[in-house]
């Protein structure tokens, strides 16, 4: 059950005054990561091993949970007096974590070299109210993946540049009988659906919030949902999208059952792996399209960062570990899974080799990254929007009404 607040506070205070680890004593860090997308569990273990080799006096215990459990696990551990020293956090959480004192402010720990070297857009992942609460670690946005072979079969020369063009091309593919439902999305009742929605909101130049109040019920926010609903009802979108998460989208695309799919960086190299995928070598990737007169491309900021918890008794070692995990050397070594946060890496042939197409898309996509709203009440807002998206898709409510009830239920 819920632990009493005073004792949690006491725990936090005690942890705060506890002495940091002695240089010779063995320190054990507990770190919480996620078990999907970007770096795999084995990769995180390998990166960590490199760290413990260089720092034999530090031991790191790793724990992995699915993305869907990451936020609640972090908060629960904090609510019961701590447990983790280092946690992986999503771009949507710093506001809440800073407000509730979950993460340590590391603004002063960040060196000049880091400030200069890391892509400017990446910092928004860890910022709230001008302070930084960790280091960006996974730089990510959703791209438009397409099946080159299917487009060729349909006589389509170029991948779509606008969302309307995407619908046109999907229609052509459907009418020629190549695929019945050419587009796949992750619209399950989960954060994944909000990422797709946010991509469209950025394309339609919409706003989630204005002056801290919901602003998605009109303009771009409404256009975005209207697009989703019409894509769904016209049969251009795979109807199972409403129960898909990213991994389901990947499987459908890899089986050659989708011409277009919106997904994160990690899909590129997996879908091109002949062991994994039936469409290896036919995978095209471009930035998600724009809207004529409003945007060239669209992109949601889906990056994640690593931070130190306020309950950690070893903030020094924890920071050292984070510096290692986010270093240019580590990031370059695993660039096939997640693109580096360091600007100069994009000119490094070792990084770009074999994924030139992805790098080209990333240069435009990452520069256009659109943030999901920064508010301590994000979870509530997101839950309300997830419901609205599903109600609109299922025809239980019109997009206008669905978004209106989401605004009412957002707690803002």
């Amino acid at each position: 059950m819920l632990k009493s607040i005073p004792s949690a506070l006491l725990g936090a205070t005690l942890a705060g005054v506890a002495l940091t680890g002695h240089a010779y004593a063995e320190t054990t860090l507990n770190a919480l990561f996620m078990a999907q997308a970007a770096y795999s569990e084995a990769d995180v273990r390998a990166m960590t091993e490199a760290f413990t080799k260089a720092n034999p006096d530090v031991k790191v215990n790793l724990e992995f949970v699915p993305y869907e459990g990451l936020h609640d696990k972090t908060v629960l551990a904090q609510g019961s007096g701590g447990g983790y020293d280092v946690v992986l956090f999503d771009v949507i959480w710093p506001a809440e974590y800073a407000t509730n004192n979950v993460l340590v402010d590391v603004t002063d720990r960040i060196t000049e070299e880091m400030k200069k070297g890391v892509l400017p857009g990446a910092w928004t992942t860890v910022e709230y109210n001008g302070k930084r609460y960790g280091m960006p670690w996974i730089l990510d946005t959703k791209y438009l993946f397409y099946n080159k072979e299917i487009l060729e079969k349909a006589g389509i020369k170029e991948p779509p540049k606008t969302w309307d063009e995407l619908a046109e091309q999907a229609k052509t593919i459907k009418e020629k009988g190549i695929l019945d439902t050419p587009i796949a999305w992750s619209w399950s009742q989960a954060e994944a659906a909000i990422c797709d929605y946010a991509t469209l909101v950025s394309a339609y130049d919409g706003k989630f919030l204005e002056g801290g109040k919901p602003a998605f019920t009109t303009g771009g926010g409404l256009d975005a949902l209207n697009y989703m609903v019409s894509s769904y009802t016209s049969g251009l979108t795979n109807p199972n999208s409403k129960e898909f998460l990213e991994e389901d989208v990947r499987k459908v695309f890899q089986n050659g059952e989708a011409a277009f799919a919106l997904n994160w960086t990690y899909m590129y190299n997996l879908a091109n792996d002949p062991k994994e995928s039936k469409v290896a070598g036919k995978v095209g990737v471009v930035p998600a399209p724009g809207v004529a007169g409003k945007s060239e491309v669209s992109a949601v900021n889906g990056s994640m960062g690593l931070g130190i918890t306020t309950t950690s008794k070893h903030p020094e070692e924890a920071w050292k570990y984070i510096v290692h995990m986010t270093s240019q050397e580590t990031q370059n070594a695993y660039a096939k899974l997640s693109l580096p946060i360091w600007a100069s890496s994009y000119e490094d042939p070792n990084v770009t080799k074999g994924q030139e197409e992805l790098i080209a898309a990333a240069k435009r996509g990452l520069a256009a990254m659109y943030p999901r709203p920064t508010t301590p009440k994000y979870q509530e807002l997101s839950t309300a929007l997830q419901q609205a998206i599903q109600e609109a898709l299922l025809g239980q409510a019109s997009p206008e009404d669905a978004l209106k009830s989401a605004a009412e239920n957002s707690g803002l």
Binding site: L2, S4, I5, D72, V75, N101, N240, T383
Partner: protein, 293 residues
């Protein structure tokens, strides 16, 4: 004199247990009640007293009412199906046939599996692209195209109920089977000689032995079904469009996802109260059943 001494000694002997009970059940419960009257957050501020605000907000909110209906449906349908299936399975396994022992062992398997494993398994079965259920129904000619069982509000709750039944009917079957083993053979033989049909044999000979244990199973299963969380969280997270959001999921979201410990606690206590009312009603039934037999 000696009487009081004995009862004092009895209390003294029970003291360690009482201390533990108060520590692990009493105190958290009292603290939850305290929390439920505050606007405390899960982390950070301790919150201030807000009276019955949380209760008023929760009880009048459409989310609570909808979740209550969903939970009630889930509980009634899944428990009824589990009882019927459990008794049928027990009657079958009570017959003499080859391979009976192996079948008994096999039947316990779903119940022995961790819920998360069970839920993941059923997600695969229901998968809209390559799920076994779609494949089977299409091959039998019952479906003309694959369906999204967990993606449609019309079928998602039913799909969850089926998964829950598969996991939990073995428990009912085990309890019923144990009761059936206690039915004396000469009575059933006598009923046969008297020319009683199968239905009458079940109704008048077997049922009196089954009634008590089945009521116990009914109580256990109803309370568990009312508190259902994990199987739904893994399979649908309360979707599509919140059509499978039960009370426990609402408690979880309120307390942990949205970090409103105060209103989460009030909701948890409302659910506790509902389950307690159910349990008391059942206990009365049990007593009546015991009195009747």
């Amino acid at each position: 004199m000696s009487g009081t001494w004995i009862s004092t000694r009895a209390w003294l002997m029970m003291l360690p247990l009482l201390v533990v009970m108060v520590a692990v059940i009493g105190w958290p419960l009292v603290d939850t009640v305290r929390l439920s009257f505050t606007d405390a957050k899960l982390v950070g501020t301790a919150g201030s007293f807000v009276g019955a605000d949380n209760y008023a907000k929760m009880l009048t909110g459409s989310n609570f009412q909808r979740a209550l209906v969903t939970t009630t449906w889930f509980a009634i349908v899944s428990v009824a199906a589990e009882m019927v299936l459990g008794v049928l399975a027990a009657l079958l396994l009570n017959q003499q046939f080859r391979g009976r022992t192996a079948l008994r062992a096999l039947m316990i398997l779903p119940w022995a599996l961790p819920t998360v494993v069970n839920a993941t398994l059923w997600r695969l079965i229901y998968n809209p692209e390559y799920g076994a259920l779609n494949a089977a129904l299409t091959q039998l000619g019952l479906l003309d195209s694959y369906r999204s069982w967990l993606g449609e509000p019309g079928t998602a709750l039913v799909a969850l109920i089926v998964a829950d039944c598969w996991k939990n009917f073995p428990l009912v079957a085990l309890i019923a089977l144990a009761a059936l083993q206690a039915v004396p053979r000469d009575i059933t033989a006598a009923a046969l000689v008297d020319g009683a049909g199968p239905f009458n044999r079940f109704r008048f000979v077997i049922m009196p032995y089954l009634a008590g244990p089945l009521l116990v199973a009914l109580v256990l299963r109803t309370i568990e079904a009312f508190k259902v969380f994990d199987i739904i969280w893994v399979m649908t997270r309360g979707g599509p469009a919140n059509s499978t959001r039960t009370l426990s999921i609402l408690v979880y979201q309120e307390a942990f996802s949205f970090q409103r410990a105060g209103s989460g606690a009030s909701l948890a206590l409302i659910v506790t109260l509902l389950v307690t009312i159910l349990a008391v009603a059942y206990a009365a039934l049990l007593r009546r059943a015991a009195g009747a037999s």
